[in-house]
């Protein structure tokens, strides 16, 4: 059968998922995963009972999904407002770091009690900036100090996990008592990577100052060649390849490439929109739907996996809400809890971390599937909880429609 069949199914699902998600009042991302799971479940049943493979998915789809994931993180990097970070100073970053450290600490001791290792703690400590940002925008809180601090907390958690994930995957079974056994060379690659990043950044700045005419062509809307998009993708894949060569997570490379564009060009809105079109219109939905399609239903045949999920959800929320109380002195208990609630939303990064864990053989299929369910549960419940808790604050400020909304939930 043609390998395009799977693509037809996926693009149809991508097309209908926003409508269904709106009906169900869940983020579009969740809708995509659920639809993917539905189809996946059908395929699974057909395979299980009739022995027929209804929808043969080859490596092509997985590859497209991977590109989708990379573009997703690239776009997340593009979202970051560096002027704002500089203006707010180190205070919010410090609190964000403290929140993240406490989260990771609690997570580590919790999972150890159940016999899991550091990676599981990392998986649980992730946050999805991709859900935090649209939720804040929707409630017109993104420009407030509260919103920015919340965003900073999420960003620190996101970036921190990405970095730790990289360090961890370099040496999964590290023996901390024997320092000589640590892969120091590979560790040294990480600062080297940031060095390259800095050099590219400086070079880009110089280029902008000395060659604005040449560069401005990349941003013109009427360019039939879409050179801006081409240049961005080249930069993105360049960083992805570089990061893989240095044994750093590809998503970190993609994320940093996004921040580079955001740092250099400040508002790349038009280019950003084109990249959104490319990413959210095609590659990103493939990633999420593929995630659902790929869901290991077989793992849920065992009861313990099902039992695992409610516990995980409780732990998942607790892990974020408790450390968020560090914000309580500034914003009060209710808002601090709301922050934790929203930061409990985990999606892509947690799945990425879990995928790495599965590839390394640390997480089994049961746990991996439970993590995906956890992602769906937290990313649906997190924004809902936040909305309920922030009801009073939002009423005073009527939600103004943003002229340029992020086109999708993640």
């Amino acid at each position: 059968m043609s390998e395009f069949l799977a693509l037809v199914v996926v693009s149809l699902l991508a097309f209908i998922s926003p409508m269904i998600a709106r009906r169900m009042r869940v983020p579009v991302v969740v809708g995509e995963i659920l639809l993917g799971m539905l189809v996946g479940f059908t395929v699974f049943l057909a395979h299980h009972f009739q022995g027929r493979d209804l929808l043969p998915t080859g490596p092509e789809l997985a590859f497209l999904a991977e590109i989708g994931f990379i573009i997703l993180l690239f776009l997340a990097g593009l979202e970051i407002d560096f002027n704002n970070i500089e203006d707010r100073g180190l205070g919010p970053i410090g609190t964000g770091l403290a929140v993240f450290a406490v989260t990771l600490g609690i997570a580590y001791f919790t999972v150890r009690a159940f016999g899991f290792g550091f990676l599981s703690a990392l998986v649980l400590s992730t946050t999805s900036v991709g859900i935090v940002v649209p939720t804040l925008r929707e409630l017109a809180l993104s420009r407030t100090g509260f919103g920015q601090d919340l965003l900073m907390t999420a960003l620190v958690a996101d970036f921190g996990t990405m970095l730790l994930l990289t360090v961890y995957s370099l040496s999964p079974d590290v023996d901390l008592t024997d320092l000589g056994s640590l892969p120091w060379l590979e560790y040294a690659f990480i600062p080297a990577f940031f060095g390259v990043y800095y050099v590219v950044y400086r070079f880009g700045g110089m280029l902008m100052w000395h060659q604005p005419h040449a560069l401005s062509r990349l941003f013109k809307s009427e360019d039939p060649m879409e050179r801006g998009v081409r240049a961005s993708l080249a930069l993105m894949f360049g960083f992805v390849v570089l990061s893989e060569a240095l044994r750093i997570e590809a998503i970190l490379g993609a994320f940093l490439a996004g921040t580079l564009i955001s740092l250099l060009f400040r508002q790349a809105s038009l280019l950003q929109e084109k990249l959104y079109g490319l990413g959210y219109g095609f590659f990103v939905p493939i990633f999420f739907i593929h995630l659902g399609l790929d869901f290991r239903f077989a793992a849920f045949a065992e009861r313990e996996a099902l039992l695992l999920v409610p516990g995980l959800v409780v732990v998942g929320f607790g892990l974020k809400i408790l450390p968020s109380l560090l914000w309580a002195p500034r914003y009060g208990l209710r808002r601090a809890v709301a922050m934790g609630g929203l930061n409990s939303s985990r999606l892509t990064l947690m799945i990425a971390a879990a995928t790495i864990g599965r590839d390394l053989g640390i997480l089994d299929d049961t746990l991996y599937s439970a993590v995906i369910v956890l992602a769906i549960a937290t990313s649906t419940l997190g924004p809902v909880l936040f909305r309920v808790l922030m009801k009073d604050d939002v009423l005073s400020a009527p939600p103004t429609p943003e002229p340029k909304e992020v086109p999708r939930a993640e």
Partner: protein
Amino acid sequence: MPSDSHGLRPDPADVEAVVPDEKAAVDKEATAKDEEAVESLAAAQAEDIIKRPPEPVLIIGGGRVGRALMRRFPTGVVVESDPGKIGQLKDAFGPGRVHHGSGANEEHLLRAGIATARAFVAVTNTDETNHKAVRLAGEHGIPKVIARIEDPEQAPRFVALGAEPVAAPLTACINMITNLLSPERRVIGEGVIADGAPTVGLRIADLALPEGTILVSILRGDHLITPQDSERLMAGDVVTILAEEKERLVPTLTQVTGRDLTLNPLDRLYVPLVRSGAFSTAFREAFVLAQYANAEVFLAVPNGLEELIGEAERLCSLNSVPFQARIFPRKTFLADFVAQVQREDQTDMHGGLKEGMFFECVVVEPQETSLWSRVIGRNFVDRLIKGLDHPVLIARNLKPYKNILLVIDNSSRAALNVAHTIDIALVYGSDITALMPETESGAGANDLLRYLKRAGRIYGVAVHERQVKGNPTLEFIKEVKSGDYDLIVMDWHARSVKRDIIRRVIEYGPRSTLVLP
């Protein structure tokens, strides 16, 4: 101006009370001798201007200067040769006060009333036309003839015809002409009536203005209204008040507008000098600005550079620029200076209306920043900008600014930046080019642009709009590097231009740069 009076933004009109050059009032001592007589004389003359209709002030040229003068002199009659401008002028001042014709054509001038004119002002943009017009005015024996000249070397030709030539940028020019026409220290000022001012709804007859002041005109939206006793004042009206002397103008404006206007828009220029080389750029630019704006120069030097104070003081006193100086210990110079500026700022607070009402500015020389100094955050300019709530002017050219570049975007303080930019443009008579990125053309930015243009019309500041497509930062760099601008006004918190580029303009920009907090 219904759309702008929401109280969210300071109106640029609030900011300015145009006070003409004090230096023109040279016969200060003479007038002080017999104050009473002068007062009654001045009052009589002021009444002349308002009540006796003929004896027009004949204005040749309906350009920016001409229009501004028309606004200030209700008996003004303008002669304009460009048919394209006639309609606009007639809309603004009424058909009776506008004549189509050439200033060099006697027949046209007769039609405009040169025979009865009390004063004659030639302000077209060519010296040749002005010269011909002035010659005709002389032939008709008009006692007061004033001509604006572009080329100062032409001055003797005009003097030979008995005219007083004025060669200066726009606002200075208008103020000087105003002064020449009213030698008894008479001054004119404008202000916008605040929402909730006690005068809102009051009839002009009930206004009870102090003696020696007259309400000359009201600008409501785009309509110029001649004040009648039955007219009621509205919030947002731009009132023009004529006062016999400077001291009465500001209190009267304050009373009528309900806003505290007791400060000049450009009040004081702080110049911190960290090395003697800065004297040539930072101090001199501040000095030129202070001269034009009637502002005070406050010099701060670290110990070891005391000798600069004497030189600066001499220069200022020679040109009657108010001057102050302080010496700070070198080690704690920056911190002491910042503390001083902030302390002064607090003592200057007048009734909580400070924001947007005036501004004090810090003038520094450009500093090249090494990578290292940026990493450890020791760059003087950078720390000044971050440490202060004041605009910081990085001085690079000593000439008056002809063209100012301003980026309009949706950032929260953009309105204030517009107001400050107009202040500066008024001081020097500059043009403003508003750069508006396509990506920022939201409702807020459009409002702001409209507001800037309207303010430009009120004050006679030319505003050019430049919509740019593509990346705002890159377009901004292109404009900055084009060299068409003498002053670049930037918002440190601009949404559309990245911080790094703002720093780069501060460090390497071709011309002076004003960074707003």
